[in-house]
Structure formats: structure tokens, C-alpha cells
């Protein structure tokens, strides 16, 4: 009787949630259909409706990026592909589209070569999927504890000491865990503090948050900048490749990190 009651309560809930999922799927398909029919404005509207439901996916952001690219809104396209990249850091389609978009950028900065190890580390941080590394560390920890526990049990049972093997294996696991943890923490901190945005249209960067301030430099659509701080969501202090700092109106920026 009790079970029947539980089923009676849960079944409508399940049906309701599956109905929501189906509805979302339908919506998504409508967006694809609009895109295929080259009705990019409609596709953007439909995909944004899905975003408004507070549920997102890298596929949704990716499709939005594609729609904006077709609408010749390079800045928005880059913004959404970058958003997709946060959720799926190593997906080749996103990286490919971004590479094509970057070729269209007007502002091109060639940075001097850095020490190869730093370059490698930065690249790794850029593509590192945190969810996977966190899981890997967890699995390694689990294995470490299992090996340690197993060793203690076996040694107790057989009264034989495998100190050398145990220390070597333990050190190896601990080293890997430690290294991965440091890299993961560093990457996570960097990402949590990083607030990137894309220039949505050609904008002047000013010396102070005022329209009549001195123009420091101009940035064109699609350039990615870092937001250092903002004033009442109106003005933003930005950095462009670390050395160029100035103020820009927030409306010209498309935030990548929410």
C-alpha cells in the first residue's frame, strides 16, 4: 500500500519532468531547423529561450555561436564559443570554429615566445577539463588507500614485510596526486578569478570611466579582454594582453564567464 502511494506521487513528477525534457528537445530541434533554413535570427531567439530556462549545455552555446557567426556578429560568436569551451574544453568543433573566427579578427597581437615550459603549462591550463582531473585525483586517492589497506592486511596475514614496494608505490601515487592537485587548484583558482569578455563592436578604450576621457586605444569586434573591475555594471576596467589597461562601457562587452 505504502509502495503504491509512493509510485502514485512519483509517477506524475517523472512524467512532468520527462515532459519538460521533451519540450526542451523540441525547442532545440526548432532552433536547428531555423538554422538549417538560414533563419538565423529565429534560431538565436529559440536558443536564447532555452538559455533563459537556466539550463545550458555546450551544444546550446556552440549553436548560438554558429548562429551569430552567420549573422556576421563575430564578437557574439566568439563569446558563445568561448562559453561552450568552458563546458567542453577539448572539443575539436569549438576549437576549429574559434580558429576560423580568430583569423577574421582585426586586432592581432603576436606575443613574444616564452619559456617552453610556461607555454606548455598555460596551454595545458587552457584545455584542462577540471571535472575529469578532479575525478582522476579521486580515483588515484581511492587506489592509494586500497593499496595501503590491502598491503597492511596482506602483511598482517602473511607476516611478511613489503616495505620497499609499498613505499615506492605509495610515493608514486602521492606524487601524482600532489602534482595533479596543485595543477587543478591553480587552474580552478585562475578560472574562478578570471572574468573574460569579448568586444562586441569597435570601441574606444578610455583613460577613465567618462565619455570625454582621453582615448587610449581602439579595440575591434571579437577581441578578448579581461575585466579587472566594473562600476555599477556601467563601466569596466579592462586589460588587453596585460600591458594595455583602460575603461570601456559595459554594453560593448559580451561576458564569457557568467
Amino acid at each position: 500500500m505504502k509502495r503504491l502511494m509512493i509510485i502514485c506521487v512519483l509517477l506524475p513528477l517523472f512524467a512532468f519532468s520527462s515532459n519538460i525534457i521533451n519540450e526542451r528537445e523540441q525547442h532545440f530541434k526548432q532552433g536547428i531547423s531555423a538554422y538549417a533554413n538560414e533563419n538565423y535570427a529565429l534560431a538565436i531567439e529559440l536558443f536564447h529561450q532555452l538559455e533563459a530556462e537556466q539550463l545550458v549545455s555546450w551544444e546550446l552555446y556552440y549553436n548560438l555561436g554558429n548562429c551569430y557567426y552567420r549573422q556576421a556578429e563575430l564578437g557574439r560568436a566568439i563569446q558563445y564559443w568561448e562559453k561552450a569551451k568552458i563546458l567542453a574544453p577539448i572539443h575539436s568543433d569549438i576549437e576549429y570554429n574559434l580558429s576560423i573566427a580568430r583569423e577574421r579578427l582585426i586586432d592581432k597581437v603576436v606575443l613574444p615566445d616564452t619559456f617552453p615550459l610556461f607555454t606548455w603549462y598555460n596551454t595545458m591550463q587552457r584545455y584542462l577539463p577540471l571535472n575529469i582531473t578532479i575525478r582522476i585525483i579521486g580515483i588515484f586517492l581511492m587506489l592509494f588507500v586500497l593499496i595501503l589497506g590491502g598491503y597492511r592486511l596482506y602483511a598482517r596475514k602473511t607476516e611478511r614485510s613489503y616495505k620497499g614496494i609499498c613505499i615506492t608505490l605509495g610515493s608514486l601515487f602521492l606524487s601524482v596526486i600532489l602534482l595533479l592537485t596543485i595543477v587543478t587548484i591553480d587552474t580552478a583558482q585562475k578560472r574562478s578569478h578570471e572574468k573574460r569578455a569579448v568586444i562586441l563592436e569597435e570601441s574606444v578604450i578610455l583613460s577613465e570611466p567618462a565619455d570625454d576621457a582621453t582615448v587610449l586605444f581602439i579595440l575591434h569586434e571579437g577581441s578578448t579582454i579581461l575585466i579587472n573591475k566594473d562600476i555599477e555594471n556601467e563601466w569596466a576596467n579592462i586589460s588587453y594582453f596585460d600591458d594595455k589597461i583602460g575603461w570601456i562601457r559595459m554594453k560593448y562587452l559580451g561576458k564569457i564567464e557568467s
Partner: protein, 566 residues
């Protein structure tokens, strides 16, 4: 009398003078007058009783000998029967360039208005290394060298490698030689002394030799004609034979190797001229090659660079030629080709590939066609000229206006190519959705393994603590559980067991209880009674009935109960 004495004195002084004059002389000797071409000999000039003798001699023996050491000098001064004699020696180490009977001419020395002359010296040089050339009674040397040429005749410009083989019946410890950096008529590509050569064994004239190619010389002839590749001296260290019983008897105090100078003989080589009719596309390449040509893009923007790559793969004299000069349309700005070499010296010649990269910058739009890329080389396998011909695709050069969009400034050829491509198609469905404020680090699903690891750690720690506690308080635990253990033991007794088994179980249970409780058997008289009864029953357990054993068990349990109560 006085006149007579003066007469004898004069004769004596004259004789002394004559003898003194006769003692002043120069001689030329050789350490050996008959030797093999591989051997090194010493030519010694001895100046006897001559002051101010020269310190070196102009030997002028280039045709027949190569001087490999000297001049070394030594002096000797001695008194014999009240008479002083002195001698100075000038010594040269030489090796013969050819076999046969060689005459070393007489040398003249003019010292303080006196002219001294040596006698001519006749020397016989034989080719000992060849077993066939040994005369009867002559023994094969225990160690000698041979110069191995890959072939007797090569073409001018052909890279080849000759090897110096060591034949030894002794234990060789080390070997050294001076490197060869130049040679008349040849480019010396490489002289290599092999540290760990491969070796083989061969029996020659009944003697086993270890043969090793200890050095190699890679040459490229620059002239045609007959050439003598000179003999090459080597210093070989061989292990001394164990003739001393201990190292204390060894006069060299443990220095267990000795050095031998051995010469790899000279050899003749014919360098042929290349046949005529090579053509304009021949730039001296000799060997065997294949050619690949590629253009990085066939559609480029005006004033942007396109790269033409010509890749030659094969073996031969890769270090000694360049790619034939190419002509392109005047509408292209052309730079010196960038050459990338990826070849190395193999056993015989150079092996690998060379790439020439031509950077072409079109000045104006249009469609351009190019001449075929042509390359001629002399094939060693077919001994004739071969021409490789590769056609080039036409290039379309577009103007700025032909590109769509406003983002065309400063594009490289790669960027132009990329612009001709499109973005990838949209995704057809969502596999996994997350909340808009999704944070990977905060996602509890990612931490499942940590929870498991934590639980496992807690389990291991608790187990460790419990086991440690148990080990530490083993006796107390046993004391506390004594009754339980005894009852468990007694419960195991079944009626279908044999009397002997039941008796053993009763005894074990009872004894374990006493041991766990640390009770001495003489503390209670009943305990002794039971133990004695068990001992008695053990003599004939098969005669015991189950009722008797039951009574014994109950008795034991009663005593345990009493002890517990006490």
C-alpha cells in the same frame, strides 16, 4: 838520438791526426732493411765525432716514404782507453709508400768546411699482409692492417667510404691515430675512428684472427686520374702475455699493455670522369634519388607569399650539390631558396633528404603556369644520367577585392586558405545539461571518488586501531571472553562424533578456559579431578559411552560455572 825522438813523435802525432780524421764520419742506417709495407721503420743518421752536427735532415723521400715521426735526436759521449768519442743521432720514423726494392740515396753534409757523405741504402718492402706473398719460412704477423676500398674505380664527385681493418691474433686494448682532414684530389667528408667496431673471426694460414673495421674514411674525389691513397699509421695497444708470475715481477709494475705502430697500406684508386651529355639540370648530383614537389597553396592573394617545396630523397653525394637554378615568371618576386638538410653519412655515402623552399610573392593577380621542375643526377646503379621531371600546378593569384569581408589586411597564405573554409555545422542535440551557474568544482558528482576514498580511509584507520587495540590487550580480551570461548567449544560437541573426538574437544575447551583465565590446575581440587579423569579416559576412549562423556562435559561446565561465580 834527439833527432830520432823528434822523428817518432812526429809520426805519432801524424797517426793520431789521421786516426782522428778517420773517426769523423756520418752514417745512415735503417732499423730494418726488409720489412712489410704495413710496418714502420726508423732511419738513423749517426754523426760520429763531429761537432756542430745538424739537428734535422732534409730527407726528400716523398716518392717512396712518408715521414710519420721525427726528427728525434740523441747524443752519446764516452771515454774508451783514454780516448774520447762522441756521436749524435737524428732519427726519423717512416713508412713505405710502395713495395719493392727502394734505394735511399747518399746524403751529403757540409760541416765546418768538411763534407761528409753517407752511403746509399737499399731497402726491400714487401706486401706481407697478403698470405700469398709470404715466402717459405716467413710467418704471418700476429697483428696487421688492411685498407679496404669499396671498389677500384669511382666517379669524380662520387662519395665513397674506405675502411681500415685490423687483423689481430692478440688482445687489443686500445688504438689511436691522427685524424685525416685533407687529402690531395679529394674532399675529406669524414674520418672516423670507431670506438666499438663490429668484429668477426677468420682463420688465415692456420692462425685465427679477429677482424675489426677500426676506422673509416669518407672521400669525394674532386679530380679524375690515378690516385694513391696513402698508408695510414695506427698505434695499437695490445695486452702483454702473462709471462710474469705476479705484478711485482713485472718490470712495468702492472702496466699490462704495450703499444705497437702498425700501418694500413697505401692503395691505388682510379677516379673516372663523368660521361658527357649531362644537360643543364645536372649540378653534380651522383647517387640515386627521388623527387617530390609541392606548393602550399594554388590560390593566393596578391603580394602574399606562396611556398614551393622541392624534396629530394635518396643517397649519394648529398652534401656536394645544389638544386638546379629555377626560373619563374617575372611577376613573382623570388627569394633565395631556403635549404633544409636532413641527411647523414651512412656506411658508404650520404643518405636522407634535402628540401629547397622557394618563397614566391606574386605582384599582380592572374593565373600563372610554371615550368616543370627538372633535376638530373648521375645514377650509380645504372651508370648513366637520369632526369626527374615534376609538373607544377597553376597558381591563381587573387586581388584584395576578390575576398569577402573587411578583414583582409595582413593575411598570410595560411590565413587565406583558412578563410576559404567554413565553420563546422551546429550540434544536433544536447547530451547533458547543467545549470546556468554551473561550477565544475562545486559539482558533487565530481567528488564521489573522494567520498569513497574518505570512507575507505576511515575504514582502514578504524580497522588498524581495532587490530592494534586487540593485539595490545590480547590477554585481557581472552580473560573476558574465556567463558564464551569455552561454551562455544562445548557446543561444537555432537553425538555423532566419536568418543575420542568428544574427549579431545572437552579437554581443549576446558584447558583453553583455564589458560584464558590464567588459573593454575591446583587452585581448585575439582579441576585436577577432571584433568585426571580425562587422562584416564584417554587410555581407552573407544570404551566410553556418550553418557559418560556427557557427564564429563557437564562436570566441566559446572566447575567453570563455579569458577565464574567465585
Amino acid at each position: 838520438m834527439v833527432i830520432r825522438r823528434r822523428y817518432f813523435t812526429s809520426i805519432f802525432i801524424f797517426c793520431l791526426m789521421i786516426s782522428g780524421l778517420w773517426a769523423q764520419r756520418v752514417t745512415l742506417t735503417a732499423s730494418k732493411t726488409t720489412f712489410s709495407i704495413q710496418e714502420q721503420i726508423q732511419l738513423v743518421f749517426t754523426f760520429e765525432n763531429i761537432k756542430n752536427s745538424p739537428r734535422s735532415v732534409d730527407l726528400n723521400l716523398h716518392n717512396n716514404f712518408t715521414v710519420i715521426g721525427g726528427p728525434y735526436s740523441s747524443s752519446n759521449y764516452s771515454w774508451v782507453n783514454g780516448k774520447a768519442t762522441s756521436s749524435n743521432k737524428i732519427i726519423y720514423d717512416v713508412i713505405a709508400k710502395k713495395t719493392g726494392k727502394i734505394k735511399i740515396p747518399a746524403y751529403e753534409f757540409s760541416i765546418k768546411n768538411h763534407v761528409y757523405k753517407t752511403s746509399p741504402l737499399f731497402i726491400t718492402v714487401r706486401k706481407t699482409a697478403d698470405p700469398g706473398s709470404l715466402t717459405e719460412g716467413q710467418e704471418m704477423p700476429s697483428i696487421y692492417m688492411e685498407t679496404i676500398l669499396p671498389k677500384d674505380r669511382v666517379y669524380q664527385g662520387e662519395t665513397f667510404t674506405l675502411y681500415y681493418h685490423l687483423y689481430t691474433a692478440e688482445q687489443v686494448v686500445n688504438y689511436t691515430t691522427n685524424p685525416i682532414s685533407t687529402m690531395d684530389g679529394f674532399i675529406v667528408d669524414r674520418f672516423s675512428l670507431h670506438d666499438s667496431p663490429s668484429s668477426s673471426k677468420k682463420v688465415i694460414n692456420g692462425r685465427e684472427y679477429l677482424i675489426a673495421g677500426i676506422a673509416s674514411l669518407t672521400l669525394t674525389p674532386t679530380e679524375s686520374g690515378e690516385f694513391i691513397l696513402p698508408a695510414k699509421p695506427f698505434r695499437i695497444s695490445v695486452k702483454r702475455s702473462g709471462q710474469y708470475r705476479s705484478k711485482w715481477e713485472d718490470p712495468f709494475f702492472g702496466n699490462t699493455s704495450k703499444n705497437i705502430n702498425i700501418v694500413a697500406p697505401a692503395d691505388t684508386l682510379t677516379v673516372l670522369q663523368l660521361p658527357s651529355g649531362a644537360g643543364a639540370a645536372f649540378t653534380g648530383a651522383i647517387g640515386d634519388f627521388t623527387m617530390h614537389v609541392s606548393m602550399d597553396s594554388t590560390l593566393i592573394q596578391e603580394n602574399q607569399a606562396a611556398t614551393l617545396r622541392v624534396n629530394l630523397i635518396g643517397h649519394g653525394n648529398m652534401d656536394h650539390f645544389t638544386f638546379p637554378e629555377q626560373t619563374f615568371s617575372d611577376d613573382f618576386e623570388l627569394f633565395e631558396p631556403k635549404v633544409k638538410n636532413a641527411y647523414r653519412l651512412s656506411d658508404q655515402d650520404y643518405k636522407g633528404q634535402r628540401t629547397w623552399e622557394y618563397v614566391l610573392i606574386p605582384g599582380k593577380p592572374g593565373t600563372y603556369q610554371f615550368n616543370d621542375m627538372v633535376f638530373t643526377y648521375f645514377s650509380l646503379s645504372q651508370e648513366s644520367y637520369k632526369t626527374l621531371r615534376m609538373p607544377l600546378k597553376e597558381i591563381r593569384v587573387i586581388s584584395y577585392n576578390e575576398l569577402e569581408g573587411d578583414y583582409i589586411s595582413g593575411l598570410s597564405p595560411d590565413e587565406v586558405r583558412l578563410l576559404s573554409q567554413d565553420i563546422r555545422f551546429i550540434q544536433m542535440g544536447e547530451k547533458h545539461q547543467v545549470h546556468l551557474d554551473y561550477n565544475t568544482v562545486r559539482d558533487s558528482r565530481n567528488w564521489v571518488w573522494y567520498y569513497l576514498a574518505l570512507a575507505m580511509t576511515a575504514f582502514v584507520v578504524v580497522a588498524e586501531v581495532l587490530l592494534a587495540f586487540r593485539n595490545k590487550n590480547r590477554n585481557i580480551i581472552r580473560y573476558k571472553n574465556a567463558l564464551k570461548t569455552a561454551i562455544m567449544q562445548f557446543r561444537k560437541i555432537h553425538t555423532d562424533q566419536s568418543a575420542e573426538e568428544i574427549l579431545t574437544q572437552i579437554e581443549t575447551g576446558f584447558q583453553t578456559y583455564l589458560s584464558d583465565k590464567r588459573i593454575a590446575p591446583d587452585r581448585y581440587p575439582e579441576i585436577n579431578d577432571i584433568l585426571k579423569t580425562i587422562e584416564t579416559y584417554k587410555y581407552a576412549p573407544s570404551n566410553l559411552s556418550h553418557a559418560v562423556l556427557d557427564s564429563l562435559k557437564n562436570k566441566a561446565l559446572t566447575i567453570i560455572e563455579e569458577i565464574e561465580k567465585a
